[in-house]
């Protein structure tokens, strides 16, 4: 074998000996299953692991590296690598814009997640109370909203809230709020955020509601019987049986939604590109506009790296909670 002869030249003898007896080794093993038992799982996992390390790990590392570079149009075009230490970070963390965006992102996430969780829970509990026909009907509506592709949804919402001929303005006008007849929803920060929030809540409530309904069907009926024997009404039944049973689910879902809303990109970007006047930029949009938008790639990378760190922290906490709940499943 050519490999062997080549190796003997350079490598010390033991290495050759180690590779040499490899072929007869497994043959000496007994049953067929054991022969493949040792390396097989790692071989099967190798492509997946490789893909993850190269395609996810490398961009993450690259993002970190870029955030320590001075990377503007000149360096970009000439392929220059100019390290500038923590300059990007000092600039980002020292700018009041960044902290405004952070504050905005936190408030935006909190409002959205609160609405999603409260409404999702209410709709889920309602699903559990309905008869079969009505439940299917409501489920259909929920699934349609859930399934709607994000970019199709943003386009539809732009049309629903259009200044001229938009149906929302017409309804508000018809209901007696005549000031809204030709209202420009995308002209101010609060109204743009209202549309985005409505869109995100509309698309996220179905996930919470349907999963919560699925979870309530697993609550043993005896618990409610026992509670009502103890004289519990509907409300006490909820606080003493339903809520404790659903608490792990609600907690995990809340975190999942926090992560999803915090990194929401297409909804905000496609609705109004962070406008008007960059007033609806959350952290992911801010990084995008500063980086590729304004051609400050180093700055953009620093912002996105900080965002990734926040998200990693949230994810770690989320996974820890979930894994604690499901210890035996893993």
């Amino acid at each position: 074998m050519s490999v062997q002869t080549e190796r003997t030249d350079t490598a010390p003898a033991p290495v050759v000996r180690k590779t040499d007896p490899a072929p007869p080794g497994p043959a000496a093993g007994g049953p067929a299953g054991r022969r493949r038992g040792v390396p097989a799982p790692y071989l099967l996992l190798l492509p997946a692991l490789l893909a993850t390390v190269v395609l996810l790990g490398w961009p993450l590392v690259k993002n970190g590296l870029l955030s320590f570079q001075n990377l503007n149009p000149r360096q970009l075009i000439l392929h220059l690598t100019e390290w500038n230490g923590v300059d990007n970070y000092t600039e980002v963390l020292g700018s009041s814009d960044f902290w405004k965006v952070v504050q905005r992102s936190v408030v935006f996430t909190a409002v959205n997640v609160a609405l999603i969780m409260v409404l999702g829970t209410l709709v889920g509990l309602l699903l559990a109370r309905l008869g079969k026909g009505m439940r299917l009907l409501l489920m259909l509506g929920l699934v349609l909203a859930w399934a709607m592709p994000v970019i199709a949804a943003t386009t539809v919402y732009q049309w629903l809230f259009a200044q001229r001929f938009g149906v929302v303005n017409w309804i508000l006008d018809a209901l007696g709020w005549h000031a809204m007849a030709d209202y420009n929803w995308f002209g101010s920060q609060l109204s743009t955020f209202s549309v985005i929030t409505l869109l995100i809540v509309w698309q996220s409530v179905p996930f919470v509601a349907i999963n919560l309904y699925a979870a309530t069907t697993t609550i043993p009926k005896e618990l409610y019987e026992a509670a009502s024997l103890d004289g519990a009404g509907a409300w006490t039944g909820f606080t003493s049986v339903t809520f404790p049973f659903l608490r792990p689910f609600l907690w995990a879902t809340t975190f999942l939604e926090v992560i999803w809303v915090f990194k929401a990109f297409p909804q905000i970007f496609a609705i109004n590109a962070g406008g008007p006047d960059r007033l609806t930029e959350t952290l992911p949009i801010y990084a995008f506009v500063e980086g590729p938008g304004n051609q400050h790639y180093g700055m953009g990378s620093a912002i996105s790296f900080l965002t990734i760190l926040i998200l990693l922290g949230l994810t770690a906490y989320y996974l820890r909670t979930v894994l604690k709940q499901e210890e035996d499943e893993l």
Partner: protein, 276 residues
């Protein structure tokens, strides 16, 4: 417990209102797409269109590059899902059926990978793709869409593989199959529904992806449908009929798939995302 008339009425009434609220935007998209322009550009919206026209659809389909972009979207999503499926099948078999050191670590890696914030990583990916001189190409899109759906595919398939009774595989091996043959002849056919559901969810994710193609492919001939749709309104001015027709064309396959798959969606998402 007996409920009063009101007690029976209000859940149903609320459900009906909620159905309208949740379904309306989807309905309005299709309704606008099918209405003649006179019924769209009007001070009093037509809620139940009586005249139906397919003119807006014709306009959307006739738009520049429409069929190229359909081709791009299909190529990228189908290839990404196929690659992910092959890689995930190998990995999920190991994770579901074998006991080995580091199994927990692998699972955890894929769970973290599933939560990867791709939306925030586009700048780094842009630089990598640019340095490889692969901007305006479908290859990087395919590759990154593959990794975006891979962790979900692995974790979901793992559940499906685990659900196939081990005895079937063992009896096949007693009858003389190798482990590989047992997999191909026994487990694989039983996995078909699971593969179907998992790949369709991968398909939906890749079909909808927006931020990455936004930054990578500026050339109009190498874009995908989400990017086209997001700029459709700018291209066509305030032609809401054509814009809604474009949105309908883009959304319809996904809506149909999803409504059929809803039951599996719930179990798939809970086993994949929440339970792990």
């Amino acid at each position: 417990m007996k409920r009063s008339l009101i007690g029976r009425l209000w859940p149903n009434a609320t459900a009906a209102v909620l159905f309208v609220v949740f379904a309306f935007p989807v309905y309005w998209m299709f309704a606008t797409a099918l209405k003649p322009t006179g019924d769209i550009v009007t001070e009093d919206p037509v809620f139940f269109p009586t005249d139906v026209t397919f003119g807006h659809f014709a306009k959307a389909v006739d738009a520049d590059h429409f069929w190229t972009l359909v081709g791009n979207s299909l190529t990228v999503t189908i290839l990404a899902v196929l690659f992910a499926l092959v890689i995930a099948l190998l990995a999920s078999f190991a994770l579901a059926r074998m006991r080995f050191r580091g199994r927990r670590g692998f699972l955890l890696t894929f769970m973290i990978a599933q939560m990867a914030p791709w939306e925030v990583m586009v700048i780094a990916i842009y630089m990598i793709v640019r340095d490889a001189e692969m901007l305006d190409s479908l290859v990087p899109l395919t590759v990154f869409y593959m990794i975006m759906v891979l962790p979900f595919t692995i974790l979901t398939l793992r559940g499906y593989v685990a659900a196939v009774p081990k005895e079937l595989e063992e009896s096949a091996m007693v009858d003389g199959c190798t482990r590989g043959q047992a997999f191909v002849r026994v487990i694989f056919p039983l996995l078909a529904p699971g593969l179907m559901a998992t790949s369709l969810f991968g398909f939906i994710t890749a079909w909808n992806e927006f931020p990455l193609v936004l930054i990578l492919n500026k050339g109009v001939e190498k874009q995908t449908l989400p990017l086209w749709l997001s700029s459709f309104q700018t291209t066509f001015g305030d032609d809401w009929g054509a814009t809604m027709a474009a949105a309908s064309l883009f959304a319809l396959p996904i809506l149909v798939l999803f409504v059929f798959l809803q039951r599996k969606a719930v179990s798939g998402l809970t086993t994949g995302a929440v339970k792990g």
